[in-house]
Symmetry: C2
DNA sequence: TTTTAAATCCCAAATAATGGGATTATAGCA
DNA sequence: TGCTATAATCCCATTATTTGGGATTTAAAA
């Protein structure tokens, strides 16, 4: 009914949210996106009505419920997650105490962890978190996924990011870079010590599915202090088996087998949302 | 650089994804949004470049990595989650085996679970899932949150959804509705049996924070078969205590105390993304 | 009540999205 | 290798939409 704004604004606005900033004010939107006040209000209002933003009383806007909703749809729909979750759980069950199992996949020029399973025992945080974009050439997960990309992508990637790759010590020249990649491809796994978190070892093995055009890996993150070389050798075998298992399950995955939702609960439609308090409330207290 | 599309399209397009449909084709976009082919391609392309959609080889598009990324930002940023997660964990630790702890909050005309913590023991799925929009008047969580809303919102809500409310048996008239609400307000908790999942009991207690304008509840979901009345009584006390605890912690929450992220990993910017394979690849195989 | 600042509303000007069709790229096939 | 069918992209005049400056309304504080 009402006018809205462009996807560019949407994207730029959501980019304002970072690890450090979880709340965004109208003034920040105006400043960062170089928008006049009225447009800023309108854009923010449209995004609120669509559920991407949520008003935090006087202070500004935070990310909204729509994010959670879409996240759930991704979780229940993505065949990779459907297929690989049980594999990860099984791996976590037999993994050393305190370790973590990661399911990662490539996205654009990066890798992202899409699922994490903690082994029993005291848990230490892994900074390779679900939803956190990571570069393609640091950490065992990244390197493994990188090595699974096809040749044209690799050369393109090197051209684009040669500086960063050099700085990360993953190849001084294109040849060195491709050699490193090839080594991982040959081995079928990758072990990295302390590249992401100090004192932790990452062990990864790749999988790929041409059917849904997907490249990823399964990783096990161990504590460096409490792991013997034997632990690591055993872990490599387990991780490789898990990745292999995942690939096979993906290949035979039937989209028909979908979880029927018991009965579809209320999904407030656009009309309802518009009438609700989606638009900014009056009067923000100026704390200054 | 390139043209994009409107937020309405974005929202409408993302609405095509449901529990049953996790993949969307260009033809569906054309049909459902009544868009010509060129515009459909452009919109989908823009959303892919922004990371909201992800191409699934020949088959179409699925939800993209941006969703996961935003989900994470919501998780690490939201003070409610920061504050209530440990409370939920503590509650789950002492809760009966197989039960689940839910953290819910109100959004528009619905309630949404924003966090779930499983008690140890064999776990049965709860259909009150994280990110799933639920109506405001079915289940203990919903009713509890509903009861915590202010009067004007309640009357507005009834006007808008009186039919649904009647059908759910939560009030034949406005007076009956308000009486039901008041009863929950007085008690300070709500118990519901089998309203969401057959054979399960929900026990909820509300919290609110005027500071960030937030209304929600903490719930415990028990199995009806293995719970005595005494279990339930004890659970009510525990849940109420947890909710109270949450409210107090929220009140003293200092936004200054933020988790400093170790070192910001690569976040592919718009330019990089545009050069990557964000745009649709050629030739989708027609299975027909 | 008055004051102050935020949020919304309004509308002409300007910009950016639109969409029909032509064009190019792709995969399958002979 | 060339040919065909179809998907994906490109082009550009038309048109509908956003835009933004300022006036107006609303709400909280003084």
């Amino acid at each position: 009914m009402a006018g809205t704004g462009s996807v560019q604004h949407l994207s730029a606005l959501l980019d304002l949210f970072t690890d450090r900033q979880w709340i965004v004010t109208i003034d920040e939107v105006m400043a960062k996106l170089e928008l006049p006040r009225s447009t800023a209000y309108r854009t923010v209002g449209a995004l609120s009505r669509a559920g991407f933003l949520d008003r935090v009383s006087d202070e500004g806007y935070s990310l909204g419920p729509r994010i959670l909703q879409l996240y759930r749809l991704l979780q229940v729909g993505d065949p990779l997650l459907q297929v690989a979750r049980p594999v990860c759980m099984a791996l976590a069950a037999t993994a050393p105490r305190g370790s973590a199992v990661l399911l990662c996949r490539s996205y654009f020029d990066g890798v992202m962890c899409v699922h994490q399973e903690m082994a029993p025992g005291p848990q230490e945080a892994v900074s390779y978190q679900v939803g956190r974009p990571m570069p393609l050439y640091r950490g065992s997960s990244s390197k493994t996924v990188l090595a699974a990309l096809d040749r044209p992508r690799l050369t393109k990637l090197y051209d684009r990011q040669s500086d960063d790759i050099r700085r990360a010590g993953f190849g001084e020249s294109r040849e060195a870079f491709l050699a490193n990649v090839k080594a991982i491809q040959r081995a079928g796994y990758c072990v990295a010590r302390g590249e992401v978190d100090k004192g932790r070892i990452g062990i990864s093995s790749p999988f790929a599915d041409k059917g849904i055009g997907l490249t990823g890996c399964i990783s096990l993150v161990l504590s460096e202090a409490s792991s013997t070389e034997e632990d690591i050798s055993r872990a490599i075998v387990q991780v490789a088996a898990a990745a292999h298992d995942t690939m096979q399950r993906l290949a035979v995955w039937k989209p028909a087998t979908r979880s029927s939702d018991i009965d579809s609960p209320a999904r407030p439609d656009a009309t309802n949302r518009a009438t609700a308090s989606g638009s900014p409330s009056r009067r923000a207290r100026s704390t200054s």
